[in-house]
């Protein structure tokens, strides 16, 4: 049975790219996607995915707030932050409980990036 993932980003353009990577490169099933932190929390509760990816800068509710709520509900949640935000945000998210933090731009045409991204995903499962 494939692992399941929920993808959260306010850019549909990026959701499509990320989804394609998870499906074609990692063999995951993308069970849902959303565009803000409210979607993130709702879809996590609904689907209980093996992994959820979260952008930080999103309308309505940002990724850091959504992360806190998801971890609050399920301390074992596997959350992978994917964001262009630099600085303390990365450390804050890891402190809250994110498994890893991937910086945008997502260079899917780069072999090195694809390897690093796969490593981050596998790291989230303790592999």
């Amino acid at each position: 049975m494939p692992k399941t993932v929920v993808i959260i980003d306010d850019s549909k353009f990026l959701v499509k790219q990320i989804a394609e990577f998870f499906e074609k490169e990692m063999g995951f099933e993308v069970v849902a996607s959303g565009t803000d932190g409210n979607d993130a929390v709702d879809l996590y509760i609904q689907h209980k995915p093996d992994l959820i990816t979260l952008d930080i800068t999103m309308p309505n509710k940002d990724g850091e707030t959504a992360l806190k709520e998801i971890i609050g509900q399920d301390p074992a949640a596997r959350v992978l932050m994917i964001s262009a935000v630099r600085g303390d945000a990365m450390l804050n998210c890891m402190d809250i409980g994110a498994k890893d933090y991937v910086e945008k731009p997502l260079k899917f045409t780069s072999e090195e990036f694809r390897k690093d991204f796969k490593d981050s995903i596998n790291e989230a499962f303790g592999d």
Partner: protein
Amino acid sequence: MDVNTIKDQLQSVIKVLTSVSIECVSSYFSIECVLKENWKIVDCLNGKFDYILAMGGINEDYQALLYLGLPQESISIFTGEQGLPAEDVFDIFGEFTNTYLGMLSDVELFTNNFGILLQGIPILYQNGQTFLPFIPGVEGRLHVDENWIYIGFAIKKA
């Protein structure tokens, strides 16, 4: 801090702004682009474009504006897609501006001058010209063959 100090700071980071823009376009759109002319320091960003996308960047010390100017015919060249509706143009290029500001924060020379700028909310304008305040900035174009996008970065002390 006077305008000339900001201009000096912009002069010191102009190569960062151009190199990051090239890397961002290359990574984000998977397309090679070039500078055909040097970017300039200006007293005020300006221009009339089919699409204008603006995003603010802010921290305790500075307020910045990142400004993309897009001619209609360039959109399909950069995105690889024909006939995109405005909503998708906004999605794609809004995320580009978000990523670009983030990438600037990776460069020590930039953060030494202006710190880490937190991204604001992008806004898309269509078929018009925006009138911007007199805030010094850097502006220029990136080209893919004869097609181009305009990038402007303006900043002031908070």
